[in-house]
């Protein structure tokens, strides 16, 4: 492997981040590092979102997708990425301070983090969470830099059949790693793929499932489905079960951890980083699984496992590092192969498509500034969060005072304007409302919407690769088993499915998710 071009690549990324744009403010020309600005905005918006329970990063990214249309591709993706890792920071802040995990990935942080806050040690818990996250983010960014070029090289040798099988593997992995019923996850993926087929078939020019509606001939927009399923549906569901939040505003004093805290946190941070980096790469994995896994590892390795839940700093440092590492490394399959591993990455791909960039291994070659700029921006964003997050804690806690009844109204409005701004078509707002109702039905039926979104994105792509593979093999379907890479992907997918269906493994998986 050749890493000789790394320094120049990173330099390219750095200069892309520090692009200067002259902006006229009050008649004066002011230079602004425009991409750094969007990175900061993304990170701040993300943190704010992370703080608010009931508003997830996926919904926010869906809301902001139409706005990124007004930015450069670099600025758009840098901001969207910032929202994601910003949300990880924000989620842990409220988990520690008021025992309200803003994000699913900080549920375990609340256990020991809030216990520490009750003991008057909120400061060290917050600081250690931020430091651990920063360390994990740095390591994970380095991993992306190291892993991306060879993976991209590998991906460039893929034949259509290999791609098809890789997507099958990706979807199977997403099912295996998802919590909840396997059958339902399968159903959601098939349903998503079917929705993805709506519109004109690019190969033959025939229309499918359009019901003669002209606005459907171009297919259903990704933003419409995403906003309906993650924006509108979540508002309905959250309004249906309003939970009272009691603000236990504990004073944050003595921010800096003691030497003893550092000594106890170093190993958990390292372990969490490794665990998170590995789990983040797997499709369907990501931050939530990583934080849960790290917590149970720390508990198992501890000399005093019975003290977990009473304010052990290991239980904060480990999971927080793990979820941030996983948040970063989940970019690897998206950037190198163009395959989204979870709903957040699906949003990133949506952001690319809005700007006419086809996700895949060619992005690194054709848009090096975009590719490396985004990677460098992640590290810069993490650093900004580390510096900004602790002084801003007061503001974040104040934000919790905004009642959900107002937030819900605002989110509904932003969804409407966002969808309308894409094409100025009011019919698309109707479609979004339809997907909102559908999303709510799925929530009530206990079905996860994320696999549907993955199927929606991957379905049409799989059809394209399937057709190419069949054309190249002159109609021989065995091509999927004859190419070694393709065979390997399919074999792994089949093995995974077999494992999950076996009853004893299924029980273990269920208990793992219950923990």
């Amino acid at each position: 492997m050749d890493f000789g071009s790394l320094p120049s690549d990173l330099w390219l990324g750095l200069s892309a981040c520090f692009t200067i744009k002259w902006v006229t403010i009050l008649g004066i020309q002011v230079p602004i590092f425009i991409n750094i600005f969007w990175c900061l905005m993304g990170a701040l918006i993300g943190t704010a979102i992370g703080v608010l329970p009931g508003v997830g990063p996926v919904a926010t990214m869906a809301l902001l997708l139409p706005i990124t249309y007004f930015l450069t591709p670099e600025g758009a993706l840098i901001m969207l990425a910032g929202i994601y890792y910003g949300a990880q920071y924000g989620g842990s802040t409220t988990a520690i301070l008021i025992n309200v995990p803003g994000e699913a990935s900080s549920v375990v942080t609340a256990l020991d983090g809030h216990a520490m806050a009750k003991l008057g040690r909120a400061g060290p818990a917050l600081a250690m969470a931020a430091l651990g996250s920063f360390f994990a983010g740095t390591v994970a960014t380095c991993l992306i830099v190291l892993a991306a070029p060879p993976l991209t090289k590998l991906a460039q040798q893929f034949a259509p059949a290999d791609y098809f099988s890789l997507m099958v593997l990706g979807l199977v992995l997403a099912i295996v790693m998802a919590s909840g019923s396997l059958l339902k996850a399968f159903g959601m993926i098939f349903l998503g793929m079917l929705l993805g087929l709506v519109g004109t078939d690019v190969n033959t020019g025939n229309t499918r499932f359009t019901f003669g509606i002209g606005d459907l001939f171009d297919g259903i927009g990704f933003v419409i489905v995403a906003m309906g399923m993650f924006g509108i549906a979540e508002i309905i569901s959250n309004l249906a079960n309003v939970t009272r939040r009691d603000l236990v505003s504990s004073k944050v004093s003595g921010l800096w951890p003691t030497r003893e805290d550092f000594r106890r946190s170093v190993a958990p941070i390292f372990r969490g980083t490794v665990l998170g980096s590995l789990l983040g790469v797997l499709p369907g994995g990501g931050a939530v699984l990583a934080s849960f896994a790290s917590y149970s590892v720390e508990k198992k390795l501890s000399d005093t496992p019975e003290k977990f839940g009473q304010g052990m700093i290991e239980g904060v440092a480990g999971p927080e590092s793990a979820n941030n590492a996983a948040a970063q490394t989940s970019f690897i399959p998206m950037l190198t192969l163009g395959i989204p591993s979870n709903a957040v990455m699906a949003m990133m791909i949506g952001g690319m498509m809005i700007h006419g960039i086809v996700p895949g291994p060619q992005v690194m070659e054709q848009k090096p500034a975009l590719f490396w700029g985004m990677i460098v921006s992640m590290w810069l964003g993490n650093m900004m969060l580390l510096v900004l997050n602790l002084p801003l804690i007061g503001i974040w806690v104040k934000m919790l005072l905004v009642p959900y009844r107002l937030l819900a109204v605002a989110i509904m409005f932003f969804c409407c304007v966002g969808v309308y701004s894409l094409n100025n078509l009011h019919t698309e707002i109707y479609f979004m409302a339809l997907f909102g109702v559908l999303g709510f039905v799925f929530i009530r039926l206990g079905c996860e919407p994320a696999p549907l979104l993955l199927g929606f994105l991957l379905g049409p792509l799989m059809e394209v690769y399937m057709r190419r593979a069949m054309l190249l093999s002159r109609g021989d379907p065995l091509v999927f088993l004859q190419r070694p890479l393709s065979l390997a992907f399919l074999a792994i997918a089949a093995l995974l499915l077999l494992f999950v269906i076996l009853p004893n493994v299924r029980k273990a998986r269920e208990t793992a998710f219950q923990e």
């Binding site: 098939f190 499932f209 109204v409 605002a410 009011h426 069949m470």
Partner: protein
Amino acid sequence: MRIKSGQDFATGLLLAAVGIAAFWIGADYPMGTAQRPGTGVLPRILAWCLIGTGGLLLVKSVYSTGSPVGSWSWRPLLAVTLGTVVFGSMIDNYGLVASMIVAMTICALGTAETRWFEFAVFTLIMIVASWAMFIWLLGMPIKAWPTSLVPFIEQMLR
């Protein structure tokens, strides 16, 4: 025969119904040849997959216990959906401000928690902020005011 898991049963029914509908609608899509798979190949495969998954869920719902379907909470469901649809039907003709007021009010009716004075202040702030952001800063081609009503109003004043 008793249904032990309402969620599984309803999901199975939904998936199977969509599968059968997709099969029926896609029945006349051309299948093409093996070398050049046509428009109908993937729809038909997916239709079978959906019917299969739905069927398995239906069978499972009879044998293994699971959660029942939750309550439908009609009030937020109707209010939020209606608010969205009304916004869509108003935005072209009546502009941003009027659409916002009507749609947000309908949405606010969705929860018993709404305090109307607080809501009014919030709506005002939202209108100013979104005008500044979407029309002034981003320059979206959205009307602010219901200008299409001006001729009517002039007629009435005359």
